[in-house]
């Protein structure tokens, strides 16, 4: 029983850490499209690891079936929403920050 708890704790905490990393990325990225990449880290890795950890915790019950459905929901709808947002942002003039646009980009001078 202890092994399941320890494994759950490891998976769930890793999911939480990835959520924080995604949120930090959302704050520090220069423009909208890189922020979207960071935000999708929360959806995929963070939520995925947490859900797998919780499924371990509940074993073969109805709750774990609902968690699997929750995982599938995130798996299918999160890319759709991100695509829609990126499409709208590009349409409405959110310019991605390109390297050659500002001469040398600060991080990697050519």
């Amino acid at each position: 029983m202890i092994v399941v708890d320890v494994l759950t704790w490891v998976l769930v905490s890793a999911g939480g850490v990835f959520c924080v990393i995604g949120a930090l990325g959302m704050l520090r990225m220069p423009d909208f499209f890189t922020r979207m990449h960071a935000a999708s880290v929360i959806d995929t890795l963070g939520a995925g690891l947490i859900i797998v950890g919780l499924i371990l915790q509940s074993g073969f019950t109805l709750a774990s079936l609902k968690l699997v459905i929750l995982g599938l929901l995130i798996f299918f709808t999160s890319p759709t929403a991100s695509h829609a947002l990126a499409n709208a942002a590009l349409e409405r003039g959110a310019k991605p920050v390109l390297a050659d646009q500002e001469g040398e980009s600060p991080s990697s001078p050519p």
Partner: protein
Amino acid sequence: MIYVVVVTALLVTLALALVRAFRGPTVFDRALAGNAVGTATMMLLAIFQFIAGRPEFVDLALVYGFLNVIGTIALQKFFRYGDLGEPGGTEGEGR
């Protein structure tokens, strides 16, 4: 007791997403932050089921997940096309 780390991590994620929502220059940044808040809340609901031992909370997480996605797509559609389209309008004249 094992969920302390992940609950604090999710609360920090919510706080950071709110900061992005306040600072976000364009409206799409705010929609993105809303999406992140929705996902973090869904995870909190799913975890709360195990903390409180009551199995209804994963249903709440499911409903919240659906509403969050629908809200993001509606927001995107409104700010891209200017309105949400005529109710039952013909799909022929796509903008």
